[in-house]
Point group: D2
C-alpha cells in the first residue's frame, strides 16, 4: 500500500438521475478549486454539457472517483484501461464498495488529494471454453439457469480434480470482496479480503449436502454444464451477462491485475460488516 498523490482525476457518475448529475457538477467545481484537473465519463458529460472522455481512454488519470452505488464502481473496474485507483461517493443503497458518503465528501477528498494509500483486491478472470474472456470480476461470477425452477447440472473441478457434481439453479464463484454481496444472500461465509482464496457457493442446490467451499486463489476452477438441453447465463458482477449452454466449460483463475481501491479512513472491512450487516 504505497502512498500516492493526485494531479488529474477521472469522474464516472450515474447519468440516469438528475440529482446525481447536479451533485457531479458541484464535485467538479470543488475539485477545480482544489487545482485538480478533471475529466468526466462521456454520457454524464453530455448531460452536464461539457466534453467527456470514454472510460476506456482515461489513461492519464491518477485516480477515479465514481458517483453512484456499488454497481457504478463494478462497471468502472470492468472498463478502466489500466490499473487506476478508484474511490466511490455513495449515492445509492447500502454499499460495501463506496467508501465516501455524499454528505461529507469534501473533507475526505481533500485528504485523498494530498496523499492516499491503495488497497489491492483480488479479481477473478473468467473464460468461456478457453476462448472468450469476460471482464475480470471484482465481486463474483454467477452461473444461473435461464429457466427459473429448471435446474442445471454442474460439474466442478479444482486444479483438474472433480470436486463435486450437483443439480442446482446455479453457482457463485466469489472473491473475498464479493463475500458480502450476492454470495452472502446465497448462504456463503464472510471472507476477509486478506485471505487468498475464492468462494464456491451453490444456488438452490437440490442435493441437501451441497456446501460452500473456500479454495486457494491460486487454483484453476472449471465449471462444466452437463445437463442435456439446458441453457444458462454467466453474469459478471451483476453487470455483464453472457449466454452459455450444455457442454460449455467456464474457467476461473486469479486475474493478473487486482482492483485498486483508495483506502478511506475508518472504512475497514470489519467496521463495514458491523455497520452494514449486523
Amino acid at each position: 500500500m504505497s502512498k500516492l498523490t493526485v494531479n488529474k482525476i477521472g469522474i464516472i457518475a450515474r447519468y440516469d438521475s438528475q440529482e446525481i448529475i447536479q451533485e457531479t457538477k458541484k464535485l467538479i467545481k470543488f475539485l477545480e478549486n482544489e487545482n485538480i484537473e478533471t475529466t468526466i465519463n462521456k454520457e454524464t458529460a453530455e448531460k452536464i454539457g461539457v466534453k467527456g472522455t470514454p472510460i476506456k481512454q482515461m489513461t492519464d488519470c491518477d485516480l477515479v472517483i465514481t458517483v453512484g452505488g456499488d454497481g457504478t464502481i463494478l462497471r468502472t473496474f470492468h472498463e478502466l484501461p489500466q490499473q487506476i485507483p478508484v474511490v466511490g461517493i455513495n449515492k445509492g443503497e447500502v454499499g460495501f464498495l463506496t467508501d465516501i458518503e455524499m454528505d461529507n465528501y469534501k473533507k475526505e477528498l481533500k485528504k485523498i488529494i494530498k496523499e492516499f494509500k491503495v488497497d489491492k483486491r483480488t479479481r477473478l478472470e473468467v473464460n468461456i471454453n478457453q476462448g472468450e474472456k469476460l471482464p475480470p470480476a471484482t465481486n463474483e461470477v454467477v452461473i444461473l439457469t435461464s429457466e427459473p425452477a429448471k435446474m442445471l447440472k454442474l460439474r466442478v473441478l479444482v486444479d483438474g480434480k472433480e470436486v463435486e457434481k450437483f443439480g442446482a439453479d446455479g453457482i457463485i464463484i466469489a472473491t473475498p470482496t464479493g463475500s458480502t454481496a450476492y454470495s452472502m444472500s446465497a448462504g456463503g461465509p464472510i471472507v476477509d479480503p486478506k485471505v487468498e482464496a475464492f468462494l464456491l457457493v451453490p444456488i438452490a442446490p437440490y442435493k441437501l449436502s451441497a456446501r460452500s467451499i473456500v479454495i486457494p486463489s491460486k487454483s484453476n476452477i472449471e465449471i462444466e454444464l452437463i445437463r442435456k438441453g439446458k441453457h444458462a447465463k454467466v453474469i459478471v458482477d451483476g453487470q455483464k451477462t453472457k449466454k452459455v449452454e450444455e457442454g460449455d466449460i467456464i474457467t476461473f483463475k486469479e486475474a493478473e491485475n487486482p482492483a485498486l481501491f483508495v483506502k478511506v479512513e475508518g472504512q475497514d472491512f470489519y467496521s463495514k460488516i458491523k455497520e452494514k450487516l449486523m
Copy 2:
C-alpha cells in the same frame, strides 16, 4: 380417503421420448387385457397413431395414469377438468410425486384397478392483481427476478398484516407437498402433508435475518413488488410462467379443490424422504 374402483383410465405421457412412447403402448395393451377402457392425451396418441383426447376433456375417467416425471404430474393437475385421482409411473429422475416405478407397474396397477384410496393434497390458488387466475399449484409458486443478480423488493402480508419487507432474488410460496421440491433447495423445512399450512421461503435474501415462515393454510397471503422499475416472473410448479412488475400484487389462498393422488402402498411421506433425501 374413500375406496374407489376403476372402469376408464386416462393416460397422459411425455411425448418427447421414444422410449416413453413405446412403454405407453405396452401400458395401454396391459390395461386393455385387464378390461379397462383407456384414452390417451392427444399429443402422445398422435405419436402412437391412435385417436387421443385433450386432457381438458378427460371428464369421464375414474383415474389418470401419467408416464414421465414429476413435471408430467404437475402439468396434468394444471389441466385436468375436474377432481380425478392421479397416479404416476416414474420414467424420469428422482420423483416425489410419481409413486410407481416403470419396472414393476403391472403388480401395482392390478391392485389399484381393483380398489384404491385417495390422498388429498392442498393446493395454492394464485391470483394476480385480483384478476387473472393461474392454475392451482400442487408444489409451489415462485416469484423470481427477471434480471438475475438484480434483486426484487418484496412486501409480504398475511391476512392483511405486513409480515416483512425485504430485498431478495425472489420468494417461494409452497404447499407441504412442495416442501421437498424447490422450496427445500432454497433452505425451507420439510412439512408433513398432514399439516394444514403453507411455507414462505425467501430466495437469496439480502437481509441476513430473512427466514422461512410456516403459516396456516387458511391465511390470505399477499406479495407486493415494491421496487421501482423491476420485473419479475411468477412460476407455477415450474411449468407455467407469467410476467409481473412493480406495483403488482400476487395473492395466494388455499385452492377450493385439492390434488387427488392415488395412494400406493409403501409410498408414504417419510419413507420417501428417507429413500430420496437422506
Copy 3:
C-alpha cells in the same frame, strides 16, 4: 377467546433483583388501588416482607402477572396448578412471551382488569420411557449431549414410523410459540402459532442433509438414544433438566392443556417478529 374479568391476581416475580422487588411492591399497591386482591409467590413475598403463596397453591386467582423475563413466564407455566391466564411484565432482555413493558404497565393492566381475551398456545407433553413425565413445554424440549463435541446418535419416529436416524449434538422439539426461541438459533423456521404443528430441529447434525421437519401436533413423536455409552440431557423450556442415556426413549405429544396467555393489544405474532427479529 372468551372475555374474562378479574377479582384476584397472583403475582410471580423474580426475586434475585432488588429493582424488580421494588417494582413489584409498586405493582401490588397499584392493584390494591384498583380494588384487586393480590397474592405473591412465596420467595418474592419474603423479600418484600409480606405473606406469600406457593405458586402451586394459586388456585383461586383469575389471572397471574409475572415480573421478569421469558424465563419467569416459562417457569410459571411449569408450576401453575391449573389453567390460569398469564401476562408478563417485561424486566429482562428481548422477550417474546412478556407482552407488557415495565414503563407503562398501568394503562395496560387497567384495560385487562376490566376485561381480557385469552390466547391458547399448544404445549408439548414430555415422557421418559413411558414413565416419568416432565412439565409440559411452552417453548421447546431440547435433547443435548452431555459431553460437548461428542455427538449423540438419534432415532426419530413419528406415529411409530422411523423418520430418520442421525448423529448430532442434539435435537429440538418445539411448539410454534417456541419457533422464535432456541429453535430459531438452531436454524428452524418461524411457525405461526395458529398452525397445528410441532417442529423437529437437529442441533449440529453431522449428516449434511438433516433438515427441520414440521409435523402435525396430533403426532406421537419418539426419540431414541441409540449410541453406546452416551449420556444426554433433556431440557424443558431452558428451565428443567433431566439426565437420560443410551436406550432411553423420550416421547412427545400435544399436552392436554394449552398455555393461556392474556391477549395484549398490538402484541400479535407478526408485529413481534418485525419488532424483535428483523
Copy 4:
C-alpha cells in the same frame, strides 16, 4: 513435502477395545518382519503384555502409526513431544484424518516404510487470559455454554478490532483441517487445507445475522465472555476441556508447529469430501 524413510515407528492404539489390541499385536509383528523397530504407547503395551513408552517420550521415532479413529490421532498430536509425522489406521467411524483402512494396511505401510511425503496442516495455539496454554488444536477449539439453552454473550476481536458481539450457545474456531469436522455440523463452509485461514463459526446464535467468517491464519483472534455469571467450556479437538467464565479472554493464533500427516495415495482432500460427505 520432503521424502522421508523409516527406521523406528511409534504405535499409539486405543486400548478400550479387545479387537483393536489384537489387531495392534498383528501390526507389531508385521512391522518387525519388515525390520522396523517399534515402540507402543504405555497403556496399550500393558494390555498386550510388553514394555511400552509414554507418548511424550517417543522422541526417537521417525513415524507414528495410530490405530483407532480421528480421536486417537487428535490426542496423539496433543501429546507428541516433537514434530513427528503421523498416519492413522482407521478402526472407527467415518474418519477424515485416518487415511489407511484396517483391511489393507500392509500394502500401504510397505510403501510408506520405503519412502513417504508429509502434509503439513496448520494448527491453532490457544491461550487463556494470556497465561495457560492448551494443546494446539488440529481440528478446532469450541467455546460452549456450560448450561445448555442458556446462551453466552461473546465479543470477537481480530487483530485488536471488534468484529462482532453476539449471544449464542458458543463459537467454533476451526482450522481448514477441522472444516469438515464439528465446524461443518454447525453450518461452516468447507475450507481447502491449502488456504491460509481460520474459520469462526457461531453455534446456535440468537442473532439471525450471525455468519461464518474466514480470517487470515496470521490473525490474532480474541474471544471475550461478557455476560454476567456465565460459565463456559473450552474444548480442544473434542479431547481436552477447560472451564472458563465471565471476563475470561481466550486468544488464538497460528501454532508455531503444524501437524505432520503422512501423505497416503488417493487420500487427497477433495476425494475424501466426495467419498465421505456427498
